[in-house]
């Protein structure tokens, strides 16, 4: 039963991730990414981290991917990509992705080889209570710095959008 659910969502996550990369229409890519993130959220639940799973769905699929969709619709990317082929930019991106992939797989297999893994998190340590306690004591400073980071994000987004607005006045509502 458990292995069946795992296999289903693991497969779903991998295939949808592939669709994200391969599909020509960016709207489909975003929708596949939704499937990927929801499937990994289910895997998180199976690993005993339901809080993380809920936050992933709430923030990533509920907010960040909506932003992606908005950008795609605003810029009309779907037609842009069909016209141009990418050229050198695409090759560079492929190269960088390949390097990252090798680095990740390499470091994991190196760990497996030497047998020195990072200490695994237990379901008890990622429950809401210990998570909150750690966040508001041990990680107090990083937490407040995140606040500053978010402030920077707000300011940056506003400045960028305003600049755009000044260059090209809106055509359509």
């Amino acid at each position: 039963m458990e292995i069946g659910v795992f296999l289903l969502f693991a497969l779903l996550a991998v295939t949808s991730a592939l669709v994200v990369v391969v599909h020509r229409n960016p709207v489909y890519s975003v929708m596949s990414l939704v499937v990927t993130l929801v499937s990994t959220a289910v895997l998180f639940v199976m690993l005993g981290a339901p809080f993380l799973a809920a936050l992933q769905v709430l923030v990533y699929t509920g907010a960040i991917l909506v932003l992606f969709l908005f950008v795609i619709m605003l810029l009309n990317i779907e037609r842009e990509t069909q016209r141009t082929n990418g050229g050198w930019f695409k090759k560079l991106a492929a190269l960088i992705s390949a390097a990252i992939f090798v680095a990740i797989v390499g470091s994991i297999s190196l760990q497996a080889y030497t047998g020195r893994f990072l200490e695994a998190l237990t379901p008890e340590s990622v429950a809401i209570e210990p998570l909150a306690r750690e966040l508001f004591s041990t990680y107090l400073l990083p937490f407040e710095i995140i606040g500053l980071l978010l402030l920077a994000a707000v300011v940056g987004a506003t400045v960028l959008a305003r600049k755009q607005d000044a260059v090209s006045p809106e055509k359509e509502r």
Binding site: V27, M31, A54, V57, L58, G62, A63, V66, M73
Partner: protein, 346 residues
Amino acid sequence: MTQELITTLVKITLWLVVLLTTVPVMVWVERRASAFIQDRRGPNRVGPLGLVQPLADALKFIFKEDITPTAADRPLYLLAPLLAVLPALTTFALIPFGPDVVIDGRTVPLIVADVETGVLLLLALASLGVYSLVMAGYSSNNKYSLFGGIRASSQMISYELALTLAVLAALIPVGSFRLDEVVLYQQGTWLGFLPRWNVFPQFIGFMVFLIAAFAETNRVPFDLPEADSELVAGYHTEYSSMKFALFFMGEYMSMATLSALAATLYFGGWHLPGVRFSDTWYWALAQGFGILLMKVALFLLFFVWVRWSFPRFRFDQLMRLGWKVLLPVGIFNLVLVAAMTLAGWL
């Protein structure tokens, strides 16, 4: 294992039956109430008082031609109505509808999924509803649909923040995401007659929640996404037959979701002071479900009442209300409730 699966399926079936009855009943109520408010007769030909009208409507939906525009993006066009119903329906898994009951020596909680992430998961599931609007608008390949979809989604995300802030404030004195604990917290009375409902100490939060709930469900006065005079029917302009009916159902179901959430967070959920719950499990179930549904029904009636009493906002007014009024008030309410809890008043 099988026993638990059966209990789960029974609970899910219960919700399905209730919700699928709510939709036609609400259609009838909405049309009759609007007629009453506007001093008209309303549907009165099909059955006594027009009671069979919703059934006739449903049959019509099934037999109508299903038009898919040739320019539409077919897979996404089909996906959108599914996504309209799915989040609205599954959120009911996290709404408690009665006390723990004992059946054949087994304790059964009267909630489909008794999980520690409770209301957080509910909000997460509900936030997926925005994809149905965007997908419907995008895939229809129609200007009205596209504009309606973009409007609807930006409206939804704008008011989601205020809604979340109000919910968070309601959780502070309870100290748990579990909605059944929220209900337990609200049991008892103040001064012997006033129920210990959250709505009294957190009236500001409740107002924020209520206004945001209207915006989230695209109901009047926030029905700009389907403003008929400018956008025809908004994101579902190109939908017909059963696919349109699914959007319709999704809208009423998310109204019911938010009504149930409002009843649970602010009005004591399935509990009513003075009601003694029976020891027999089916009586306790009937009591809990009955009380919860009564509260939900009152909220739904309120939705209808407001719809026929207020004009529609303009888009800039809508954005101003969401970002410049509800968001700061929501933050203020959160701080206020936190301070009150700290002082030991809650």
